[in-house]
Subunit: 330 residues, 2 copies
């Protein structure tokens, strides 16, 4: 845009109004206070702890942190739904586990076939197809599938207070990233529209891919090889490889985020005095969502919770701290 026009617009649209109160869906709790204090401390020009905008990296887990993950990770629901829809092209599946259980919608049966079974379910629904075929299948699923308990579309099962947190951080010149055990190609289909997080700021699990010219058209093909799982110790490694900067703020909800929280917040040495924030979303609300932590198979929160006090991590109590859980459908 022409610089003169930009300036005129800046003059016309600037108003003396103060910015709206941030985090409107957060109750006035210690969690909210800790977040706002931290952001003001690092973003305020006059603060002795001011941090340059280029260093304001915020990384968030996805499952259980930005959207729900019960009764199972939504991406597993996607994989199983895809297997069901592909069953007619694969008649041999009807008599072979884990496909037999998947087609019957029997999640317990699928889980009973262990890691090897899950690998097969994921290979069938995530690999040996082009990048576009895969993302189209995810897009279609998001538009049509419904959560079995709430009846909502899966992308409606996000956390309104976390959407506000992402927005608040970006208003203060943070760059918001996802660092998740979920599939990077799965999340990239909706992360920009749903979270305001563009594809280049999504970090996740992946499989290998290859480039080929198919009838003169450059094509990326996803392969069932070299899986990288962006979980636990894998998260700081993925942050190092994909971002190349240590986060200033990290948010998660389970022990899969322990190392990311440690990597973000534990000082390197005595000279490392930059303020950093670790945040854990604790599922305490059996009425409005699900309550789970130490005993859960999905999103188990045990060690990270035990270390939270000592490490100074903010533990968000969903029941106490959030006025609402999911966005209201418009």
């Amino acid at each position: 845009m022409n610089r003169l026009l930009q300036c005129l617009l800046a003059v016309f649209f600037c108003s003396p109004a103060i910015a709206a109160e941030p985090l409107p869906s957060w109750n006035d709790s210690p969690s909210r206070k800790a977040i706002v204090d931290f952001v003001e401390r690092v973003a305020n020009q006059d603060s002795p702890d001011h941090v340059a905008a280029s260093q304001r990296i915020a990384t968030f887990d996805n499952d259980g942190t930005l959207w729900s993950e019960q009764p199972v990770y939504f991406q597993l629901s996607f994989a199983i739904d895809r297997v069901k829809s592909m069953a007619s092209e694969n008649p041999q599946w009807i008599s072979t586990e884990p496909f037999k259980s998947a087609i019957a919608g029997d999640i317990q049966g699928v889980m009973a076939s262990g890691k090897e079974g899950l690998v097969q379910i994921f290979a069938a629904s995530h690999a040996n197809m082009t990048a576009d075929e895969f993302s189209d299948s995810v897009r279609h699923w998001l538009e049509t599938a419904k959560h079995p308990q709430t009846g909502k579309r899966y992308h409606e099962m996000v956390y309104q207070p976390m959407l506000e947190l992402l927005e608040y951080l970006r208003e203060n010149d943070f760059k918001t990233f996802i660092v998740s055990g979920g599939g990077v190609d799965f999340m990239r289909v909706f992360a920009e529209q749903t979270y305001g997080i563009p594809p280049e700021q999504v970090v996740g699990s992946s499989v290998a891919a290859k480039f080929e010219m198919v009838e003169g058209v450059p094509t990326i093909v996803k392969l069932a090889q070299n899986p990288f799982v962006d979980d636990k110790e894998g998260k700081p490694v993925a942050i190092y490889q994909h971002i190349g900067r240590r986060p200033l703020l990290a948010g998660g909800n389970s022990d899969g985020d322990l190392q990311m929280l440690q990597y973000t917040t534990i000082p390197r040495d005595q000279a490392d005095t930059t303020p950093r924030l670790g945040l854990i979303v604790h599922h305490t609300d059996a009425e409005r969502e699900w309550a789970y932590d130490r005993e859960s198979h999905i999103g188990k929160l045990n060690e990270a919770w035990s270390q939270a006090n000592q490490r100074g991590w903010v533990v968000v109590d969903m029941k106490r701290d959030w006025k609402q859980i999911h966005p209201v459908r418009k």
Copy 2:
């Protein structure tokens, strides 16, 4: 910053002056014209080919595109210099190739030990150390090493016209990335300060890494395993994995960039009419830099040059198109 203050500053500092002419070190050539026409076409709000800012991804090769690469890739010079500096701690190297040649500064001798020799040189200088140890060693080398022919620091051997191109693109809300065969951790040490490209926008070759707590401090350790080489077909794959968006503009200088240029510019189908630009930096200036293309071992430009016309790629003739090559030392 307080919104009111921001607005007042916008009013005070806005002047009716027109923005300075872009690309001042570029001669008025077909290359410059093609670049400016393209950027105006996609960035101008009134253009029928306007592209949303979120899609304006520009990816650039590094060696031979943003900085020089003769007589050998600068990262190889780094690796050899590191081996020399580590020689006293490794007395067995003095009688073993390729280390013997490296210590003697004999690049031909190093190359003679082939791929296996290079792997050993790189393992010794790039792996089995912490991330911080590695980046410190790169930083120190950039501050002290001099190019054997020009006597300049290596980060002074960048291309002033390309710095201006990166700046011009960013002024038009492009996000500038590096997609290079060079090491991502090597390039991240200087890319932000030298090119204005932050670490999270550097994509390159890598090795595996692991996370561990060392005396209670979270530490990333680089390992001599699982190398990923971000070259040729690897570049579109890396773009898919790390960026997740197809570039709008891609620039390179050699056949290592062929697939990235194809991936960026060849339409997917008839409906794919978004304008995209491919750019090749052709080394034609034996006086001010080096002249090489089809016959070169370093930065060979053959097939990509042959396809350039048919594909509509802009071929920048360094001798004809650039008023100066490297920045003038201040």
